[in-house]
Symmetry: C2
Subunit: 264 residues, 2 copies
């Protein structure tokens, strides 16, 4: 199993605090020693860092912690290999372009038989079931919507249906973004938390570190953090239900599907 971390915010926000907590699980407090990756959206572009090394020893992880990249959407992943060898092309998050938008995807779980599903537009570069699932998702979205649909809810419902279909193959916790929305699907474990004024203090579960968000934020900031397990000990996290899909825009919950609809 792997650790996922996502962020959606209404202003460019750094994720150093949450990332520091997550990184500890990459070989120090967790067994996730097989690489890590993080993608930061900046406008329509995405900047990503991938490292097949354990995150707690990674020089690039140290840079990401030190050098506070501010972003409205972040997707991060620490890997424990269950399928596919440990190498750069098997390191999440994976990226592809659709409709001139940069889509990124990270997955926690395992999907049996996913590789028997053929894809037309997108072909996996590495050998993970996760990248194959991502290619299959985008392939289906692209076939159904050659152009981006006007009403985003049409797309959200369709993605919820695809997620439910793949979920039947195993475990399918994932984070997905198209640079505007952040999708989080819970198969077994995923929790989220929205921070907004009045801000308080938060204390990390995996490192002896406290941050006072009053000093770090301005009153209008809205920041949602999504993680496999709650990262802080003194805040109330929303634990997602199996099969639940949530969509965030600018830090706010935009849509929620408890029982996913089948694909149209």
């Amino acid at each position: 199993m792997c650790e996922l971390l996502g962020m959606s915010a209404n202003v460019p926000t750094d994720i150093c605090f949450s990332f520091t907590g997550l990184m500890q699980r990459g070989g120090r407090t967790g067994p996730h020693r097989d690489g890590w990756g993080i993608a930061f959206y900046e406008g329509r572009g995405a900047r990503s860092f991938h490292d097949p090394q354990p995150s707690c020893e990674s020089e690039i992880a140290a840079l990401v912690q030190r050098y506070s990249i501010k972003s409205r959407i972040v997707i991060s992943h620490i890997r424990r290999a269950n399928r596919g060898r440990v190498c750069l092309e098997n390191t999440h998050p994976f990226g592809r372009e659709l409709w001139g938008r940069h889509w990124m995807f990270a997955h926690n779980g395992e999907l049996k038989g996913i590789k028997r599903r053929t894809t037309e537009f997108y072909t996996p570069i590495g050998s993970t079931d996760s990248e194959h699932a991502f290619c299959w998702l985008l392939d289906n979205i692209r076939r159904r919507f050659p152009l981006a649909p006007r009403d985003p809810k049409t797309l959200w419902r369709f993605i919820a249906g695809l997620a439910e279909e793949l979920n039947a193959l195993g475990i399918f916790n994932f984070l997905l973004s198209d640079s505007r929305y952040l999708y989080a699907h819970c198969s077994t474990r995923l929790a989220w938390l929205t921070r907004r004024a009045p801000f308080g203090e938060a204390h990390l579960q995996d490192a002896d570190m406290t941050v006072d968000f009053v000093r770090e934020t301005s009153p209008n900031d809205v920041v949602t953090v999504i993680a496999t397990q709650p990262l802080t000990v003194n805040e109330v996290w929303q634990v997602m239900a199996p099969g639940e899909l949530v969509v965030f825009e600018g830090g706010e919950l935009a849509w929620q599907a408890l029982n996913a609809q089948p694909p149209m």
Copy 2:
């Protein structure tokens, strides 16, 4: 105009020395203050760093110089914006997947009317003529070869024809790779150099720095460096002719087209 830097090698090699020279041109010895980017292939995967900041002041550039990432193929670019505003999605190199391979592209020049050419499979994310040209190239390759051709020369000839066609729209110096081959097309300025045993010393043109490759390499290493202008003062660089396309594999020149063929 922008600066291009490419490398093809038969063993994973670090590019710190050449990169140090190139970075000086990003605002110190050159006028290329509008961002930079670099992609390192590792096997089938690619790791890329992009920064809309001037390279000579960039923290990420400092990391890349310090932290010697070893790679067989590298593509790097320092930008002086002529088309498209300065932002992450307009920063080279650009990447797309075709045939399950990670293709990367960086361009120096300007192409008039390129945006009138429509694309089917690949859509630009940013607003540069360069990314549009890249999408058009891959679109054409994909339409002509839904699967990778068995004989790579068939593909090389086709790419040479496409390069010639776009070259007619303006200036089209570019570096392109599919993780196996490195393509370099000269429209106005591009030079390359292959280093192999017996290795000597090289002295950078843009920084007071000398490297002794005897100490840095092993006798079987073959490393080709391609740059807009020669980076060293005491080595003999092959200056490419306008319209010339070269293909490198494992540091060795694999193919060369002086007069490109029209597309089949």
